[in-house]
Symmetry: C2
Subunit: 422 residues, 2 copies
């Protein structure tokens, strides 16, 4: 009988114990904020760490079964990484913390400080996170769409109504992106506990028109690839936003349903959506946040034509991307798509921005990294805003088009919203 | 300018498109229900697929950069798998669906039919899923614990009170296990849509005393390894369950707070917890489900002594487990732990089972796989129930200690609960 016990419960327990023992310490953040990685793998010729801070080769020990790397000192943050073993990506088997970034599963760890400590759960009151479905009508075969909601700790114990921040993801993201890569619940819990922002509801919808929910959570398996389709990005979710998302939230939660108690912000594609949604509904949002926004499409037909024109040079681009089914892409990008100015929410956008400016939102916030390839287009957009007589706050950070920046922009944005709300 | 566009937005779009194109078709479920896997990897000597249905070697194509495998016909189900490249596990880079199982990230796919179609979201009304925190007092340094809640589609639109199923995970699991590996929300949505079960709230707490929330969601980083610690499994969460979990749910949601509208079920360790919680609160649950339960510990001191006695043979066990820090394990398992009969909720358990039987719960359900190493202990437990004069329903399935079985047991259990509730 002892043998049977050993071979079932106890063996499982010992195995779990052995795994867990190592996992709590991987990777090792050293006192000098360098980080040490180690990977046990046999027969590999080349092993690398590909991290959010850069890529480096690991060094094999004498018998080449354990590879190690110690980085330079890293900044306080949430850092993601994978190993590359002879060209194949893999997560860290000694780290039980993994996170999905669009289609990739990444290992991650934190370095304490600012903002790293804000991104981890602390011993504070915690809000509630929900995934729920709301009725939608702009696709007849997709009558429900899923969104995520953060409710602050005080929400459950009070019937007081709260302001709402609508927080939008980027291309390829979904209703879980700000929770998973964005650490939204931790940021809110910690900033609320420290009195750094006002209690608010945060709503994170799925902004891809052809996708109702994140991969694995949708009835429409084929549509989990909708982020590949440009037509899924532009026009439809923005047009339906006020009547469907905002209306649903105001009818479902205890909200303060007026302009001074609504904010909207988004990253990359979600920044473009934020421009369009707020400009089309100038009486709806007093606080607007654009985090590394896609902007050029919103303002000039020239740029959307440039994208359409790419069909002529698509072979040149495709030659740089390995393992691509070029036939399908050529078909997709070769076809004539609509001009942005043919899409309702983007029609007369410049005039709408002027109207929005006249109605004086309390904050129009724009942040972009110095190395972001979108920076030059953001500059064009701020020039356009100047022409429109709009007032805005402009922040320029180090780095590029990355989650590190988007989390920091949110942390910068949150204390500035709902501050003058009574 | 075209170059900048290409190198940023468009290149990102094309890359996403290329990824997504492949991902929707990986793996390929063929018409005859065989499944074809393929993996692009260079320089590998041996590549395998390790699936929930078994492990098989893949075959290299002529140039050894693409490895493929076509399985036997698989049953309708959710199937999980990973590749093993020269001994290293990795998920499928062509499949965007991954799921966490304790410390492992697995790729997965479905085969339609029964139960496979019940495990996927269908075009039906969807319930809401919440993660929320509740006050707990049994650990002074962990005053909040997190649980998951499923609310049926009708919950939001009605003030009607609903019955509650408490659904418990196994050793190493947490408050997300039944949602992620267990597909709880899909199962509920689909069975409700087909009228196969009653509307109910499903509550999924974290049953490890030394862990307040799943990895990455807890302020207590060191405690994510708590599943390694036997003392985290037994006694404390069971003792606090009625006063903390049930009381919180009844005070937070529109519930029917009486015995005939409460059910409790659990898998493996959660089955043992279910035995203890229901026996210690014989007026609380009319429906009890044990899915591959750990049982022997609950009934005899002899078995817990056998575990304690293992310290004498621990070297023999450890020699079978690679990469183990044996010193720590020897210390942990070598130390004298409490006897189960010293733990309040397990004291006089046999007498409590007799009292529970006298109070005639409407359903006491037990299911176990024919190949489950726990089966012999479940047999002892049912004999003990016979001695106690208890009535129970006993189901024996194929297979062993696996999520495939636990999902099936739940699907078998759900239609039988709250059926006679008015």
């Amino acid at each position: 009988m002892a043998k049977t016990l050993l071979s079932s419960i106890l063996l499982a327990a010992l195995t779990l114990a052995a795994q867990a023992q190592d996992e709590t310490t991987a990777p090792q953040v050293n006192d000098d904020l360098t980080v040490t990685f180690s990977l046990q793998v046999s027969g590999a010729a080349k092993v690398e760490v590909d991290g959010s801070w850069g890529k480096s080769k690991m060094t094999p020990e004498a018998d080449s079964t354990v590879w190690t790397l110690t980085t330079e000192a890293l900044t306080s943050d949430m850092h993601t990484y994978r190993f590359i073993v002879d060209g194949s990506y893999r997560t860290d088997p000694l780290n039980d913390r993994t996170v999905r970034d669009i289609d990739d599963t990444l290992s991650y760890f934190f370095i304490d400080g600012t903002p790293g400590s804000l991104l981890q759960e602390q011993d504070v009151e915690h809000g509630t996170v929900e995934q729920r479905w709301y009725p939608s009508s702009f696709r007849s075969d997709m009558e429900q769409r899923r969104l995520s909601v953060y409710l602050p700790p005080t929400y459950a114990d009070s019937t007081d109504s709260l302001p709402v921040l609508y927080l939008l993801h980027g291309t390829g993201g979904d209703e879980l992106a700000w929770l998973e890569m964005g650490r939204l619940a931790c940021i809110m819990d910690n900033m609320l506990a420290e009195g750094q922002c006002q209690p608010m509801i945060v709503v994170m919808p799925n902004g891809q028109a052809d996708q109702d929910a994140a991969p694995g959570c949708s009835p429409y398996r084929e549509n989990t690839a909708s982020h590949a389709n440009v037509s899924s990005w532009l026009g439809r979710t923005e047009a339906a936003f006020a009547n469907e998302v905002v209306a649903f939230i105001d009818s479902t939660y205890h909200t303060l349903p007026d302009k001074q108690h609504r904010a909207i912000a988004g990253l990359s594609m979600g920044g473009l959506h934020t421009i369009a949604i707020s400009a089309n509904n100038p009486d709806m949002f007093d606080y607007v946040g654009l985090f590394s926004p896609q902007t050029m499409n919103a303002l000039t037909d020239k740029n959307i034509k440039a994208i359409q024109g790419v069909s002529n040079t698509v072979d040149g681009v495709l030659s740089k991307i390995p393992f691509v089914n070029t036939d399908n892409l050529r078909e997709q990008f070769g076809q004539k798509t609509q001009h942005l100015s043919d899409i309702d929410v983007y029609k007369n956008l410049e005039r709408k921005l002027i109207v929005q400016a006249v109605k004086e939102p309390k904050l129009y916030y724009i942040a972009i990294g110095k190395k972001d390839p979108l920076k030059r287009f953001v500059s064009k957009f701020t020039s356009k805003l100047d022409d429109c007589g709009a007032t805005y706050q402009y922040q320029e950070s180090e780095g590029g088009h990355s989650w590190n920046n988007w989390r920091n922009y949110l942390i910068d944005f949150l204390p500035q919203i709902f501050t003058s709300a009574e």
